[in-house]
């Protein structure tokens, strides 16, 4: 390997430190109007009448949209049965989400949108729109929403329908749990709950739309330009080639910017109606309550083990709060990392009158792992076993006990981590045994995360100057996709990275790519880059190097599959915390993350991602929470300050060890990275707190008041 595996700065690092990187809100088009959105102040209400006449009469206001003059289905905003919206599902679903809905089902739901000559006029116009609401009863918690007398958020009830329009929970079974419990010597039961946490990416959503004839160009921060184009075209009833999506730089997303959003559709329609380009800017509060965050959950576990600590049965009954619309599955993941003959998982995705839940870095895992890993940590303690020994005894060795992994390094991650971390020294056999008011303890958690192969495309052009231009439909959410593609291209072509240009983030210039979601970019598009490089090299060997104005082009559209195997990235995290039992304050004093993400393309940026995911998870474990007022259904902490994401001052050093492997798949053996470090981290912190204070914290976030309450 000449380029792959060498720590190297990003190809666009200069733009990022000089202010030259162009984000969506930096786009300015001549004659551009500014847009703002009026949102529902009620958690559940029917709109009797909207009067926009005063707003339209305000000088400078160009157009106002409401559900009366804009009835567009927001396909990605309310999927059926947890499945992506396609034409088939669009036809059958009973629970269709529009851009503007009536009734409104959560505080923050769009009611009207205004485009005006400047943002001050647009904001003034919002105040002049008169909405006559009939307030309806509301329900905030998923278990309450399933009660007989709960208000129905949808006519069919509050359990979200599956693809066949049936009100059924998501159920998976292996073996027979009742048989498993009978075969167990000991059975443990407990429950855990997790909060709604917002993606809170630094860049609030914005969008710039402009039409030239029947062609729409959207500048929008999306994690997948190809999927965004497909969604926008479908929702607006346009052919895909009439929609151009441009996303050059974006300020993070973590799942919040997957596909398209209603903001894109609203901006497009405002621009069409106004006959001028329009820029929509979200406020931070708009972003918090108007897009989506991680679904809150309640998880009831029952676990059966033999006297020597072997798992026999795991049963999970879970409830996920989806908000007013179901934007993702609402699954609760994690059980599958244990080897266990009898498993049953029954998850209820439930509508509530809170803001919508959707993708956020490892969508169903950090909250699910917190539940199952806390539960198993507790089982180990109750059986007087070291949690590391319990894990080594019971962790997954084949996917779902059946299908072999392409490589298996989980045991190495755990053993190497325990040794480096000095687990035996830091872990307290007797939880809460430190004398002082400040007590220390250690926790562990581990994970396996999908690293599946899949289709993508790449085109590489070699010109007479000897420059290779790689065309890939990636954006750069911050993980460094552009740089990674350049590294892979340089390696595959056998040329220095300085000979590579990357063209990205524009659907008119780049071929389809899956986009920055599911930690798939490197694996899927990176593999396509290698294949395109091979195609180009064949051309070069046949025709020789191009000279003058001539060019050679290599392209590839691979769709590799795995036969009878599963690919997964593995990790183990070890955390030491210090808990001030008088103040309830938790400080992370040591953190080690050991990851097998296959071969690492660029250790510098890979480390950034692992550290970032772990730090973000510490915030989720300790403070992040979109709190609602039970009396009126109002969100109280919508913003950075209220939600308390982690800051410089709270952030400990994260040590990272990569156990590199090459399983023969993907680009040079690369596996997933982006989401993986967040998956086990919350559980590891929670387990460390238990070890320090001897009290099991069963409700996220583990705030000071809860710790003091548990110790009282």
């Amino acid at each position: 390997m000449n380029v792959v595996g060498k720590p190297q700065p990003r190809i666009d690092a200069l733009e990022r430190v000089t202010g030259k990187a162009t984000y969506t809100n930096d786009i300015h088009l001549d004659g551009m109007l500014y847009a703002r959105i009026l949102r529902s102040p009620h958690p559940h209400a029917r709109i009797r009448r909207i009067d926009v006449s005063k707003a339209l009469a305000l000088p400078g206001v160009k157009t106002v949209l409401t559900n009366e003059n804009c009835q567009i289905v927001f396909g990605a905003g309310g999927i059926a049965g947890g499945q992506q919206y396609n034409d088939e599902i669009k036809k059958i679903t009973k629970q269709r989400r529009y851009v503007f809905n009536n009734p409104v089902r959560f505080v923050g739901e769009p009611v009207a949108a205004v485009a005006a000559l400047n943002r001050h006029v647009a904001e003034e116009a919002l105040r002049l729109i008169q909405v006559d609401y009939e307030e309806l009863p509301f329900v905030l918690e998923p278990e309450d929403a399933l009660k007989q007398d709960a208000v129905k958020i949808w006519p069919e009830g509050n359990l979200s329908l599956n693809q066949r329009n049936e009100a059924q929970p998501m159920t998976t079974r292996r073996g027979d749990v009742q048989e498993g419990f009978q075969a167990s010597d000991l059975v443990f039961e407990d429950h855990y709950s997790t909060a709604f946490v917002h993606n809170a990416q630094m860049e609030p959503r914005s969008c710039v739309a402009h039409w030239e004839g029947d062609k729409l160009t959207l500048y929008t921060p999306t994690q997948g330009i190809s999927n965004c184009r497909q969604d926008v075209a479908r929702d607006l009833g346009m052919p895909q080639d009439k929609v151009q999506i441009i996303c050059q730089y974006m300020g993070g997303g973590f799942g919040n910017k997957n596909q398209n959003q209603d903001a894109d559709l609203i901006t497009a329609m405002l621009a069409k109606q106004a006959g001028a380009p329009v820029k929509l800017e979200y406020t931070r509060k708009d972003d918090f309550i108007g897009v989506h965050g991680r679904w809150p959950t309640v998880q009831y576990y029952k676990v059966g083990v033999t006297r020597d600590g072997m798992l026999k049965a795991i049963q999970l009954r879970g409830y996920s709060g989806m908000g007013g619309y179901r934007k993702n599955t609402g699954a609760i993941g994690g059980i599958d990392i244990y080897q266990c003959p009898h498993i049953e998982s029954v998850i209820y995705p439930v509508y509530t009158n809170k803001t919508v839940s959707g993708n956020f870095r490892g969508p169903e895992y950090p909250q699910g792992y917190y539940g199952i890993e806390s539960m198993m940590d507790d089982v180990a303690y109750k059986m007087k076993m070291d949690p590391v020994d319990f894990i080594l005894k019971n962790m997954t060795r084949k996917s779902r006990d059946e299908v072999p992994y392409t490589n298996y390094s989980l045991e190495e991650c755990i053993r190497r981590g325990a040794e480096t971390f000095e687990w035996k020294k830091r872990w307290r056999p007797q939880p809460g045994s430190d004398p002082g008011p400040v007590k220390r303890g250690a926790g562990v958690s581990f994970m396996a995360f999908r690293s599946a192969l899949g289709r993508s495309n790449a085109v590489i052009r070699l010109d007479g100057r000897g420059m290779y231009t790689v065309f890939v439909g990636v954006t750069d959410i911050g993980a460094g996709a552009k740089t990674t593609m350049a590294i892979i291209a340089a390696e595959a072509l056998g040329v220095p990275r300085s000979k590579i240009d990357v063209v990205w983030g524009d659907t008119d210039r780049c071929p389809y790519s899956v986009g920055e979601s599911g930690s798939r970019t490197t694996i899927q598009t990176g593999y396509a880059v290698i294949q395109a490089a091979e195609a180009l090299k064949r051309q070069i060997s046949e025709k020789g190097l191009p000279v003058g104005d001539s060019v050679l082009v290599g392209s590839a559209s691979p769709n590799p599959t795995l036969e009878g195997k599963v690919r997964a990235a593995f990790a183990a995290h070890f955390v030491e915390v210090e808990v001030d039992t008088e103040l309830g304050h938790v400080r992370v004093t040591k953190y080690l993350a050991v990851h097998d993400s296959g071969r690492i393309m660029n250790p510098l940026t890979a480390r950034s991602q692992i550290k970032g995911g772990a730090l973000m998870a510490i915030g989720m474990a300790l403070h992040e929470d979109l709190i609602y007022d039970r009396r009126n259904g109002q969100p109280l902490t919508a913003g950075f300050y209220g939600d308390r994401i982690i800051t410089h001052r709270d952030a400990p050093e994260i040590e990272v060890i990569f156990i590199e492997s090459d399983d023969g798949y993907g680009p040079y053996g690369a596996k997933s990275i982006g989401e993986s470090s967040k998956v086990p981290a919350v559980a590891a912190v929670a387990n460390a707190i238990f070890n320090a204070i001897g009290r099991r914290m069963k409700d996220l976030p583990i705030t000071r008041d809860k710790i003091l309450g548990a110790l009282a």
């Binding site: 430190v17 630094m202 730090l615 950075f640 800051t647």
Partner: protein, 197 residues
């Protein structure tokens, strides 16, 4: 907000006629005025030094400093993350000290000096902080980076050789959701040890 004193009427037709021709992304030279005034709002003429160059600008009294920089001076390197003083993405130096430009009115900059990320590199040479940010992979998505840079610059102006804890304390008002905190602190320490100032 006060009621507009007089209203300048612009018809939709007239507006579209005037703007429908050139729809290119503006990357050209800075412009002072990009938004068509539709109402008479109080304005003040201020004299402000931006990245070393003194200029006179007519600002609406309601404009924040970041609005002036981004929308009217085309200095879009400064970002708006929250527009309410919570995240630090809009940090610039006002007379050498870091401030949130979303929480300062543009008129308050009258007679003062503003430095933005665009003014960090001198004569084509990167500031040592910029180079250290690149070397340590401090920016991930990059959206908070300008603010982190300006805050760090202000910190090093006051304290040329901070400890790691002083860097964390000094920059704690600058959030990073990618949580590149470890690398930001490493980068600031590396730049301060370079002896560049």
């Amino acid at each position: 907000m006060s009621k507009p004193k007089s209203k300048k009427k612009i018809s939709r037709r007239k507006f579209l006629k005037g703007t429908g021709t050139a729809l290119a992304v503006a990357t050209a030279a800075p412009r002072i005025q990009t938004q068509t005034p539709v109402e008479t709002v109080p304005k003040t003429s201020i004299r402000v030094t931006i990245n070393g160059a003194e200029r006179r600008v007519d600002v609406e009294d309601r404009w924040t400093l970041v609005e002036l920089l981004r929308d009217h001076l085309n200095l879009t390197g400064t970002k708006i993350g929250c527009d309410r003083g919570e995240c630090g993405a809009c940090t610039v130096l006002l007379d050498g000290r870091p401030v949130y430009s979303c929480s300062n009115l543009a008129v308050w900059a009258d007679g003062r000096s503003v430095q933005t990320v665009e003014g960090l590199a001198q004569n084509g040479r990167l500031d040592p902080l910029q180079q250290a940010f690149i070397d340590h992979d401090a920016p991930q998505c990059g959206f908070c980076t300008s603010g982190q840079l300006m805050c760090a610059k202000g910190l090093l102006n006051r304290n040329a050789h901070p400890t790691a804890d002083e860097v964390r304390a000094g920059m704690t008002g600058n959030l990073c959701r990618c949580a590149g905190y470890n690398h930001y602190v490493e980068a600031v320490l590396a730049a301060s040890k370079g002896g560049a100032r």
